[in-house]
Assembly symmetry: C2
């Protein structure tokens, strides 16, 4: 179908991003706004004020997800867009926040320019995605898909020592009402998000459409050796877990580099005990992050991780154990939605780039119940989870145009 | 010269070690007794009580080293034995404490059995060796050799935030008097110490004589890369300092293992920033501990460390820097003292084993002013700097016999 002209106000989205960044402002362009914090509550209030001004009905669900609804003329399932309201500590102004506010700007523009749609549209701001206050993440989207287990709010303890339930009560949310946040009337979910990687930039492209969210597994590995004096204990008698950890990092990196893109394996967290400069370590704990968008390659990478840990520990005579602390199979987008989004891009004169998402997103969770796709906006230098993350307004407007056109296509016709 | 029978009371040394371990007792066999702490003061008082009972004159010098003196009939330089009074946190009952109390038992036995020597003998308990309260170490022995620089007591801040000067005043020591602790009348220093390694045990030997204390250098290395998203950032564009650190560990370990004993290189301390499981690290700081007793091999090992860091950082496109935070050249024992000690061992029916010390000791500092040698006592499983460190009483008595015979040889004849 042909496209209609939809005006997206560049000044508006720039101003909203700027104003929202003040809620949790953390030096320069940094933002620290964790779920259920005072800054977070203020952000939600500010946003609901904008909804009211735009004539969009808003509400907070029992989990703390904020919804703005543009009622359709026909009853039935609705189409949802949005992203998360929380940030890393410190994060930047765009991760999550951009998709949330982009959804608002797109829907406000549609309402102003075309009035009520046929199918209802909602914009969601997920309350918690980053895991920056509580271990694990996707708390908000899991509430919507009914994936939160009974008692979980009391069991999950945040980095500040407070449970999710306690933190919720601090912002007047009642954890016992969590089941009421579940939705079964969402037909399609489309999330706009910054890429958080360098692929679009390296190809000179502003926008990409995600056809699959990578599979991701986190192994927490413990290698147990024997602490000894760094001077008095000969190399040949040592059981040094730091050396075995280095072997693991080296072998996994060599293997994944030989596979080439999009395979990635990362060791970003290492804890050495007792961590003394003159002591052969007793124990090393580290996290291995494994990702690939293709299920068979992903499983192969994971199997290789397990073999490598076992082999390297064995070579050094160490005890070892691992546990899987996060595990997400690759999540494909809905092919029909991807095709529609790509056609929309072409109609807008944008090269129709398809790509995988190397990061996890609420969209992954939403895909358990709804058709899903994502729109990526170019990130400067591929940076994210840092105050320096940046996407320029021109790219952002192109992304919102794609989103607005897509919503028009599926909701107004 | 022939040896005379000298009786060493096994029950006495066992009892003194047990009683001393109560000062700073830290669960089971653990001892945490840092310099200038209340536990440390109590330990010194207890010890001085034992000296009084044994008829040995004792004093605390301006640094807090405790001295017990058995006056000789002839004036002139004296012979000193002893070790340190402080422990790791938690350490065990033997590191330092054994050499200190062994000296006391040997000298008390000599006094009781032979009366006054010709040359004066002193037993020293160094106030601080471990660096377990203040960074750096050898504070006590450096006071004795005049190696403490003006103002140092005010500049060194301990792990608890207190300066050395403040900690000294807490136990009624006046830092301005530190220079008075210097001694220039010590002709020979012999330190008995647990081996802290597995060499004697692996050879079925109780006692060894140290002919050289290893050279030791600590490099604090920083590798600076770029933090990025572990999923969204391709391997080929990363600047990951964890991978480069692993390369360094792997290459240094391979190199030093190919050299065989006594070369050792240890990475026991690693700090990753920001240390997130899903974040390519921004920076890794780690300590490389390099040791070898032969000066030319030691320098070669250090040169290889520097080249390896540079090469591995370069391969990954990282910035790097290092600083040397501890540096001790190999310290040879006095050959005449070693020969005398070995002859004494043979006369006592002990295999005359010569070995290097892989650990640093106060003896290293004392060697700047005096002839020096060390007597090592077998360590169970080579363990030290842990509550499980252990040496059996039979071995300990053999070590004290060697020490007492040596002191008799040089002071009574």
């Amino acid at each position: 179908m042909p496209i209609v002209p939809i005006e997206i106000d560049a000044g508006l989205i720039a101003r909203l991003l700027e104003e929202m960044s003040q809620h949790g402002s953390d030096g320069g362009t940094g933002v620290s706004r964790v779920a259920y914090s005072p800054e977070w509550s203020d952000a939600i209030s500010t946003y609901r004020g904008w909804c009211e001004t735009a004539g969009l009905e808003s509400r907070l669900d029992a989990a703390g997800n904020v919804w703005a609804r543009l009622e359709g003329t026909r009853t039935g399932p609705c189409v949802v867009t949005g992203s998360h309201t929380d940030t890393q500590v410190p994060g930047g102004r765009y991760d999550g926040t951009l998709g949330w506010l982009a959804g608002f700007v797109a829907v406000a523009a549609l309402k102003e320019q075309f009035g009520a749609p046929i199918r209802s549209i909602e914009v969601v701001g997920f309350c918690e995605e980053e895991g920056s206050r509580f271990p694990g993440n996707f708390w908000g989207s899991r509430a919507i898909t009914g994936a939160i287990r009974a008692g979980e709010a009391d069991r999950i303890v945040g980095w500040d020592g407070m449970t999710v339930a306690q933190a919720m009560r601090h912002v007047d949310l009642d954890p016992s009402l969590l089941p009421s946040a579940e939705r079964s009337d969402i037909d399609r979910f489309v999330e706009l998000h910054i890429e958080q990687g360098p692929v679009l930039e390296s190809e000179g492209l502003a926008i990409g459409i995600v056809d699959v969210i990578t599979g991701m597994r986190h192994y927490l590995v413990t290698l147990q050796g024997t602490a000894n004096h760094a001077g008095a204990f000969p190399m040949d008698l040592r059981r040094d877990p730091v050396v075995a950890m280095a072997d693991v990092v080296q072998q996994l990196t060599t293997h994944v580099e030989s596979l080439g893109r999009p395979a990635v394996t990362t060791i970003g967290r290492i804890e050495v005990t007792p961590n003394g400069g003159a002591i052969v370590a007793d124990r090393v704990e580290f996290v291995i992050d494994v990702r690939h968008p293709e299920p068979s390659v992903f499983e192969g990478l994971c199997a290789n991780v397990e073999e490598t840990v076992q082999r390297c520990a064995g070579t050094r005579g160490l005890e070892y154990e691992w546990s899987v602390i996060a595990d997400h199979e690759p999540t494909p987008s809905d092919p029909g939605m991807v095709a529609d989004l790509l056609e929309t891009m072409e109609q807008l004169g944008l090269p129709p780039r398809v790509m995988h998402s190397g990061a996890g997103h609420d969209a992954m969770q939403m895909a358990q119940r709804s058709n899903m796709a994502m729109i990526f906006v170019r990130s400067k230098d591929g940076r994210s989870h840092t105050p320096v993350e940046f996407s320029n307004t021109e790219d952002i407007v192109r992304g919102i145009e794609v989103l607005a056109q897509y919503l028009y296509r599926v909701c107004y016709d």
